[in-house]
């Protein structure tokens, strides 16, 4: 990071905090292990001592680290991040679990003009789409914010009640629109204020972004979805078998 700029829009202290907090959560700095000294953090990050102190203060306030006078700063709690991420992912990935072990908050369910990019990429969508935006929670903690766009024709019989706790594709399946194929693309973005608020993270935090287009067996588009996952609570898990490709699997439930 260049000294003297906060061109990221996020102040230096917050970026140092984010990166240190991630290193602690991932176990890069293990439980009980010492953090680099203040002068060495100043050097590593190219920021002032005050900035480093602010970041450390916030970590101490969150009880992620403990400062011991004279001997340094140490990682406090043991966070087995990957294990809990996997547990959350396993709940979310099992379609039988969705109805019972997750909760949903619908933020939007209405016909809207199709966004420009949809009309441009897939004119088949037509001018109007059913937009469904919701947050899914596991153990009352937000995991994913998803925006679905369903062609008007396909979504006609879909109601908020019929959707219930189901995924959009799951609900469409019950109405006779059976998904047969899907194309997916995974990337990373920063949380905008809207996503940050609904996922309970800070603005600018990294978010796993999955875009998915599903079609039926006659190649008709059923829905386009944009998922924003909290990366500390979800990861996409795929198994690819070399000699028996049909045995490989993709775990996400659509």
């Amino acid at each position: 990071m260049t000294r003297g700029t906060n061109a990221g829009g996020v102040t230096r202290y917050l970026r140092v905090y984010t990166v240190l907090s991630q290193a602690l959560a991932q176990g890069d700095i293990g439980a009980g292990e010492a953090l680099p000294s203040e002068p060495s953090l100043v050097h590593q990050y190219g920021v002032s001592r005050t900035t480093v102190r602010r970041a450390l203060e916030r970590l101490a306030a969150e009880r992620s680290i403990v400062k011991r006078k004279g001997s340094g700063t140490f990682a406090r709690n043991k966070i087995v991040r990957a294990a809990s991420t996997r547990q959350t992912a396993a709940i979310l990935d099992d379609p039988r679990n969705l109805a019972t072990n997750t909760t949903v908050r619908v933020l939007e369910f209405k016909n809207t003009p199709a966004p420009e990019f949809l009309q441009r990429e897939w004119p088949e969508f037509g001018p109007t789409v059913l937009t469904i935006r919701k947050v899914r929670y596991v153990d009352r903690k937000p995991v994913v914010l998803v925006t679905n766009y369903v062609p008007e024709e396909v979504g006609r019989q879909l109601t908020q009640r019929r959707l219930g706790n189901d995924t959009c594709l799951g609900a469409l399946d019950k109405l006779g629109f059976h998904g047969a194929s899907a194309e997916q693309e995974a990337g990373a973005v920063t949380a905008d204020p809207f996503a940050a608020r609904h996922l309970g993270i800070r603005v600018g935090a990294p978010v796993l972004n999955l875009k998915s287009l599903a079609r039926d067996s006659r190649d008709r588009i059923l829905r386009y979805a944009n998922y924003l996952y909290r990366p500390d609570r979800y990861e996409i898990h795929t198994v690819v078998e070399r000699d028996r490709p049909h045995r490989g699997h993709y775990t996400q439930s659509l």
């Binding site: 061109a7 990221g8 829009g9 996020v10 102040t11 202290y13 917050l14 970026r15 984010t18 990166v19 991630q22 176990g27 890069d28 590593q44 990050y45 087995v80 990957a82 991420t85 990935d93 933020l107 003009p113 966004p115 420009e116 990019f117 949809l118 441009r120 001018p127 109007t128 059976h178 998904g179 194929s181 899907a182 194309e183 997916q184 693309e185 995974a186 990337g187 990373a188 973005v189 905008d192 204020p193 603005v203 600018g204 935090a205 978010v207 796993l208 990366p231 990861e235 996409i236 198994v239 690819v240 078998e241 070399r242 490709p245 049909h246 490989g248 699997h249 993709y250 439930s253 659509l254």
Partner: protein, 276 residues
């Protein structure tokens, strides 16, 4: 609802939510202009403001979001710097281009063909090649890994620009047979194949992380910028034979998958990778 083609983003078009977006006033550590920047950036990315389309005027933005002109100018200046908008004196501000998907992808359904192909299309430089301790956090997840591993860190470039930083951990007993030059042009998959250690299965995990100091420097992004993080666990008939962690620039590389509905009604997951 009447079909509409919007050339000038109206208040409702710009908002992702019912009503208008109100940038929170005081969020610790986040500059105020950043909220507007993020908001406009999102609208440009998802096509809400399409290529060539006009952005609201500076005074409009200032009134709508209750921000000072200086704050609005900072947000627009950053978008301009990034080459995403053009500002014409007296005529307004226009979207330059819409979202362009990154140039490189890895299609998971063809992983075993695409990974070697990707390695030959791109260039890599070996930054680190040594036997060292396997990180404890990694051993916790993959107890089969030995305490020491050959660690190979590489920076991957496409047309001269870095797009991924990868770190491979190969158990010492396998790693000590691998020459450094083997990694100049080949994927780890190919290197292991040539050693007679055929990979039969890969478990691939994808998530997002904030760029740490090393990744930010190597990939030429800001500290804390979002990166795609992938972990590939390679299995041979005998078990785990290597783990490769990589962080990638999402604007240059992403992960794709073509899926089909599984015919097995009771399978845990209803979707599986499409057969090639």
């Amino acid at each position: 609802m009447a079909p509409t083609t919007v050339h000038r983003p109206s208040k409702s078009k710009l908002s992702r939510e019912n009503g208008s977006l109100r940038p929170p006033r005081n969020v610790r550590g986040v500059a105020r202009y950043y909220f507007l920047y993020e908001h406009l950036s999102g609208a440009l990315n998802d096509g809400t403001i399409h290529a060539g389309g006009a952005l609201p005027s500076e005074p409009d933005l200032a009134t709508r979001y209750k921000l000072s002109r200086t704050t609005v100018r900072r947000a627009l200046a950053r978008l301009e710097e990034e080459g995403r908008i053009v500002r014409h004196q007296g005529r307004g501000t226009y979207a330059r281009q819409s979202y362009k998907p990154p140039a490189l992808h890895l299609n998971l359904q063809d992983f075993f063909k695409e990974l070697p192909a990707l390695a030959s299309r791109t260039a890599s430089s070996v930054l680190r090649f040594e036997i060292g301790p396997t990180p404890p956090a990694l051993r916790e997840l993959q107890p089969q890994l030995a305490p020491h591993a050959l660690i190979v860190q590489r920076l991957h470039r496409f047309r001269g620009t870095p797009f991924a930083l990868s770190t491979a951990y190969v158990p010492e007993r396998i790693g000590e047979r691998v020459p450094r030059e083997a990694f100049d042009q080949s994927s780890l998959l190919t290197v292991l194949d040539q050693l007679g250690r055929r990979t039969t299965k890969t478990e691939y995990t994808t998530t997002a992380v904030a760029a740490d100091v090393v990744a930010a420097k190597r990939l030429n992004v800001q500290l804390g910028a979002p990166l795609l993080r992938n972990r590939a666990v390679l299995f041979s008939a005998g078990g785990v034979q290597a783990v490769v962690d990589s962080v990638c620039r999402p604007d240059r590389f992403n992960i794709r998958a073509a899926l089909e509905r599984s015919p097995l009604r009771n399978s845990r997951s209803q979707w599986r990778l499409k057969r090639s």
